[in-house]
């Protein structure tokens, strides 16, 4: 494993250093003393590469990433996994706003709370199914305009008086599935979705995802009582399909 000390290193140089290591064949890199450097992992393509990050990485972590695994030992900021295509991001802490924006493949596992507009515009196509699991709670506009993929909100790691999810949850959603491990009042949900209980096929789908989430984050949580979960799916897959027909 190669070690890169990010202390005092500007983000452009830091990302150049990481890319140079990967070009020279390094498969595992540990970056220490990160404090706000942007775009780490951005656009990287090698599926065998693992990058461990110590410290708080900056905006747009792993934007357009296509393959590697990023393991963040601290909190992350806004825009994690922006439009990522494949790979995995593990965050041992909380993350900011707009996580997984336009994400079209890969996995994002966040241990604690996330901010506003998480999972918006996520999409899937054929074998591309992006997956995001959040151990804590989420703000407003969760899964807004979601078009595909799987998002799981557990509300299990942070214990406070906040509701598990904010307002306008799944507003404009027209594809994919959101699982939430708690009841959510209809008035906080978008008009395009309906709430369902989980079926056997949902449990079968979720069990390995949740196990991987726990194992990657090295935590244990009591999250397998599927009777507690709700599932949100769009009631029409093409709600605006006839918009210009009339």
């Amino acid at each position: 494993m190669k070690l890169i000390n990010a202390k005092g290193v500007y983000y452009k140089q830091l990302n150049e250093m990481i890319r140079a290591e990967i070009r020279s064949g390094t498969k595992e890199i540990k970056v220490t003393n990160v404090v706000g450097q942007r775009y780490i992992g951005g656009g990287l393509e090698d599926g065998d590469v693992k990058i461990h990050i110590e410290g708080v990485p900056g905006e747009d972590l792993a934007a357009f990433m296509d393959g590697p695994t990023l393991n963040v030992r601290n909190n992350a900021q806004d825009g994690v996994g922006n439009t990522m295509n494949s790979g995995k991001i593990i965050v041992h802490g909380m993350a900011g706003d707009v996580i997984g924006y336009g994400m079209r493949g890969g996995k994002i596992y966040i241990r604690d709370d996330v901010g506003y507009r998480v999972g918006i515009h996520m999409k899937g196509y054929l074998d591309k199914v992006p997956v995001m699991v959040i151990g804590g709670r989420a703000g407003d506009f969760f899964g807004e305009y979601m078009a595909g993929g799987i998002v799981v909100l557990l509300g299990a790691t942070t214990n406070n008086s906040k509701p598990i999810v904010g307002d306008y949850c799944a507003a404009g959603m027209h594809g994919g599935t959101i699982y939430i491990r708690e009841e959510v009042e209809d008035r906080f949900l978008g008009k395009e979705v309906k709430k369902f209980s989980l079926e056997k096929k949902d449990e079968k789908l979720l069990t390995p995802i949740l196990n991987e989430f726990l194992s990657d984050l090295d935590i244990s949580l009591d999250i397998f009582d599927f009777s507690r979960y709700i599932k949100l799916i769009p009631v029409s897959s093409r709600p605006y399909g006839r918009m210009y027909v009339y």
């Binding site: 983000y11 404090v35 706000g36 942007r38 410290g55 708080v56 990485p57 900056g58 905006e59 909190n75 900021q77 806004d78 909380m94 900011g96 706003d97 709370d113 901010g115 506003y116 703000g139 407003d140 506009f141 906040k162 904010g166 008035r187």
Partner: protein
Amino acid sequence: MSISKENSLFPDPRVRSPYNERDSAACGLIGFINKDRQRVSGEVIRKAITNQHDRGNGLGGGFAGYGIYPQFKDLYALHLMYDKDNAISEVEDILRKNLSVVHQEIIPHKATKAIHSHPFFKRYFVDVPLAAHGDRHTPDDYMVKIVLGINEKIDGAFVISSGKNMGAFKGVGFPEEIADFFGLEQYEGYIWTAHNRFPTNTPGWWGGAHPFSILDWSIVHNGEISSYGINFRFIDTHGYPCTMMTDTEVVTYIMDFLVRKHKLSFVDACSVMAPPFWKDIDAMPEEKRHKFRLLRATYGSASLNGPFAFLFGFNGGLIALNDRVKLRPLVVGRKGKTVYIASEEASIREICPGLDSIHAPHAGQPTIEYLDEEKK
């Protein structure tokens, strides 16, 4: 009267830019408060905002510090920015006639490699004579009138801060460059705020940098006040002419108007600026519903639309507020008696790696942190 500022660093103040240009702001901000009043060097806030270097574009940086003038703590500290020589005597004439000037000096500043073209800065520590403000006005009212009068009427002079035991330092450049220009490390304060500007809506000029300040209020802002037009007309009719050519200025005056003139609590003033949606007001219990309806009905023109994250500094503390759908980032970190509030967690970690806690405040819900009572 006509104000001519051709051939100066200042664009025409009659151009109220939010009507003419667009903003896609990505500014950065950070502030902290040592509740135990422990004063720290401006070097600390410089380091923190420098971490957010890439949120700005070099067209505006600024700082506000509280507790920085203990030797004159009961006097109003006027920070004046001049870009015309004859403005100095005009302003000093006004000050001499209306106030007692206890001390005056140049605000130390030096041209650097990054900042070579700049205005001239002076500060005046002044008192308001009782005979001047009379019984009908408070000294604060009197100061506001004088400050806004200078800003509006004296060509080439702007009061950039006017509170007691505080001051604003700002200009065109990256914040770290502005800090070096003013030698910010010489000042020690218990509350500091900082701003890194990315202006695309209004001109990148020295007066347009943040913070905006009146009395001891100072505000740094990331975002855009889309409701500027209605807010400007509202606050203008209450005696606050806007002269800084940017949207954020109105928020400073609205805060002063609501809290100092209309005696609203900070919480209520914040809910005027970022009011709950009507659907959420409708879902409130009766008593609360009534109150929020009244606030919206009374102060509708003071509510702010558009994306924002603010830090308000004042002599008693530090307030942070987001727009009601959280279109700009904001996180709050705590360590012992210090509270940090910033656009990015990393800039807090830059100056305090081991926080006790960190969280992101809810949209439209203010974070209000007060200084501990002063030990007598």
